[in-house]
Structures are given as structure tokens and as C-alpha cells.
Symmetry: C2
Subunit: 252 residues, 2 copies
DNA sequence: AAGTGGTCTAGACCACCAT
DNA sequence: TGGTGGTCTAGACCACTTA
């Protein structure tokens, strides 16, 4: 970069944002795999011809987004979707008394379909392109607290099969990450109240017509690329959706 | 601070965290009022006998939490609860089509009461201490989308009256901030689905028993001190609760 | 022109981890 | 002991605002 612009001169964007872009690029290309360490900060500084401070500034951003994880004395690692790590970043259901439990997901249905107009739009596909549909349960303790209807682009997950999904160990996001190198890093959710339909009610163990929380999520990988659509129906008798506004965990 | 510990030597906590603590202290004591500018970074560096870098690191944290706002060329300001600023930090209801509208709050009921055991616990009071109860409407366009039941400690808002609340201009948080110097900086929310009760249904314009979103919020000021309890009942026909996971707005 | 925050650098030293 | 990230400093210069 300093080959192009003299040191200390900002051309268009700040240097650290450019470095951040290059790091994200390498991550999305799989140069560093989930769980693996990145080169040390001094190595990265050499590689991009910037100072360590600038490297740290770029990494800071990715650490805040939980895309990277720093461990003092060990290195900087690509974040994974293993339990206790990014889990609660994407799972906001807690017990009524506030206790967090590990959800146990189970996929109970798998089928292929074609995208309608709305689905295509939300997944950046063309209407009629092939998609995968799944139905997934989230269990906390012995109770099923949520039923997820999931939609994926078939092309992104070409060899995904019912067998693979059923026999996986861990969450779907972990599967996307380890098997397809697709790292879910962001999501948008829309919540509303609804009355539970019969099939879902049976799975949740509530009466048909019981009030349920409906969550529409779009999950994204790097560059805000949408990867998965998920409609979750949550039984909020006994569990709640938890959110913190303005909280800062351990800053960087 | 360097009078006590030699430069470059970390004693217990990092220096910038200590500076952050002192800044928060001054904020909570009202040394710098909402909307006003803090001393410049170089002045603060002199005041606390640290380098500008350390000051910036401390301010960074507070900016991420939206407690402070930086404006290049102008200064660093205490965040306010004016519309377009912290508003959407604490208001997550959007129109079904994703459009954000400014809510128009109106308080329709005001009374005094005594705290029961649970309320006391959540507000850090003793059972039997005096509290204020309010009922508040949130309007978007011509529709009432939420009914809030609010509880405050009477002692914190000693002279608060129905008149003041009704004649205010803006949100309650803005009132707390400007009139009482109490700055809401954080909140915890728990969401669940419920069936709408009769009185609330009438206010929302939905049938009794319609599915509604129920939000239980604890709003806090500095040092995680709870200030306000709020139970919001939201009509999610036409509007939704919106949440983003892993988003990073404009980092610092 | 002066003052503010924003970026970038270079270097010293600390804390932690692995060996 | 050597390598990693974490903290703190000092200084130069850029970008923006205000007067």
C-alpha cells in the first residue's frame, strides 16, 4: 500500500479500513480457516507494509464483530460457531428465570424446492432457482422451545443432504462453517406475535392458537451476503427472547 | 495517576479503563451536561496526566456505548436522547415494510404507588418505598403501536408530576436527562408473546385476545444502576420488533 | 488561522503462553 | 526463553469546523 501512497498520506479511505477489507477478503477466500490462527500482528504488518498499530486497528473491528478472537500470548484466531463462543451471539432464547442453557438443535425435515419471487429477492437469487428447505427444532432441557423453517440456496450447499444434516454434531451455522467454509457473521431479525398453527403447535407441545413469538431472520456472511432465511416460532411460556441495548461486553 | 504509578507500569487495571471510570464518574455527577462538549482530548490528557492515545482509548469505549459522540473539528459531546440520535438505540419498532418512523409518545396516566417485593428488587429499592406509575402510548403515523406501563422510583424523580409529563416535548428518556440529569445509557429487554387484555386492546385498537408482543425492559444509567421498569405491549400487525446481530455501525 | 478530532507511525515495556 | 497480544507514550500530519 505504501508502494502506492506515501506514508502518512490518506488517499481515499483510511489505511486500516483498507487492511480490514484485505483481511476480510482473505477470510472469505478461506486463507485462514475457522479456529486457525492468523499470522502474528508483526507478520501482517510486514505483509501489508503498514505499522502494527494500523494492523491492530483493523483487527479491532473484526474482533468487535466476533469474526476474529484474540488470545493474549497465543495469537489471533478465526472465530468459530462452537458452543460457548459465537453461540449466544445468534441464539437469544433464555429461560424465564434468566438462565442460559445450551440449545440442542435437531433437524426433522429436509426437502428441495424452487425459490419464489420473495425468497429469491431475500437470498439474492433469481426466481425459480433451486433452494433447500429444512425444519429444525431447538430444545432446551427436555422442552422444544422453537421450530425453525430454514431456506438455503441450493447452489451454495450443493452436496448438502438429509443424511449430512441429521448426522451433524452441533448447530447448522457450525456445519455451514466447517463443511462449506461459509461463516455466518451477521443477522437481521424481525419479531412479531402470532397465533400458533396446528403443525407447529404439535411440535412445540402447545395448543393450536396459543400465542407464539415469530422471528424472521436473514443470516449473512462477509460483505453482507445473505446465506440463510429462517422463520422461528418460539414458545415463550417458560422462555423469552433476550436483548441488551447499549451493552459493551469486553471492548476489543 | 502517574504520581502514583510510574509511566508504562500497569498496576492493576489498564490506565485507559481507569480514565474511563473517571470520565463516567464526572458524567454521572453532571460535570458535563447532555449536549455539551467535553474538554478537548489534549486538555483531558493534561488533566489526567496521561497521553492523548490513552484518553482516546477511554473515550472510544464511551463512544461505542453512545454515551459520548465525537464530531471531527468540533469536539466530543455528551450524547442526548433527541430524535435521530439515541432514539433508535432504544426504540426497536419498525414498520412491517422496514421503514423507520419517529414515534410520538403520549402519557395518558400518572399515579403514585408503593413498591412490591419484585419491583423493589428490580429497581434497587426496599419494598414499600414510593414509586411512580405511568401509562404511555407510542404512536407511529396515526396508529398506536405500543402501550407502555412504566415504573420509576419516586425519590429519583421527586417533583415529577402529571403536568410535567403531559407537557413535555419528546421522549421520557429525554425528560429524565434534561430535567433530572439522569442519562439512560443501557437497557435489558425480555420479549414474549401474549394475548392482549381488554384495556390494552382498546388502546391498541385490536380485539381482546389478539396476539401481542410483550416487552419487559429495565433501563439503566451509569454504573448499571436501574432507573426505569417498562412493560410494553406491542401490536405487531403492521409493525415489528427489529434487531441486528453482529452489526457494527460506524466503528468509533 | 487556530483548534478539534482522525490517522499513522515507531518504540518501549508488560502480561501471558508455550517450550 | 522467545513469541504473542496488550498497554502506553510521543510525535507528525490530515480533515474538518469555526471564526
Amino acid at each position: 500500500m505504501n508502494d502506492v501512497f506515501p506514508i502518512g498520506v490518506q488517499s481515499f479511505a483510511p489505511l486500516y479500513q483498507e487492511v480490514r477489507r484485505l483481511l476480510t477478503q482473505s477470510l472469505s477466500e478461506g486463507e485462514w480457516q475457522p479456529g486457525q490462527a492468523l499470522p502474528s500482528e508483526s507478520k501482517l504488518a510486514q505483509r501489508y507494509h503498514v505499522s502494527i498499530g494500523t494492523i491492530r486497528r483493523a483487527i479491532d473491528d473484526l474482533v468487535v464483530e466476533q469474526i476474529l478472537v484474540r488470545q493474549q500470548g497465543r495469537g489471533t484466531f478465526v472465530g468459530t460457531h462452537t458452543p460457548k463462543r459465537k453461540l449466544y451471539h445468534f441464539f437469544h432464547i433464555v429461560r424465564e428465570d434468566g438462565v442460559k442453557e445450551l440449545p440442542e438443535p435437531e433437524t426433522i425435515d429436509f426437502s428441495r424446492d424452487r425459490a419464489d419471487e420473495n425468497t429469491a429477492k431475500r437470498l439474492n437469487l433469481l426466481p425459480g432457482e433451486r433452494i433447500i428447505r429444512m425444519v429444525n427444532l431447538q430444545r432446551l432441557g427436555r422442552q422444544t422451545v422453537a421450530v425453525d423453517h430454514i431456506v438455503l440456496s441450493h447452489d451454495r450447499f450443493r452436496d448438502l443432504s438429509e443424511k449430512i444434516v441429521r448426522e451433524r454434531d452441533g448447530t447448522l451455522y457450525s456445519l455451514y462453517q466447517t463443511r462449506y467454509g461459509i461463516n455466518i457473521v451477521r443477522a437481521q431479525e424481525r419479531l412479531r406475535a402470532a397465533l400458533c398453527e396446528r403443525d407447529t403447535a404439535r411440535l412445540l407441545g402447545v395448543p393450536t392458537g396459543a400465542p407464539v413469538l415469530e422471528i424472521n431472520r436473514t443470516a449473512m456472511t462477509y460483505h453482507n451476503t445473505p446465506v440463510e432465511l429462517r422463520r422461528s416460532v418460539v414458545n415463550t411460556k417458560g422462555h423469552e427472547y433476550w436483548n441488551e441495548l447499549g451493552k459493551i461486553d469486553r471492548r476489543i
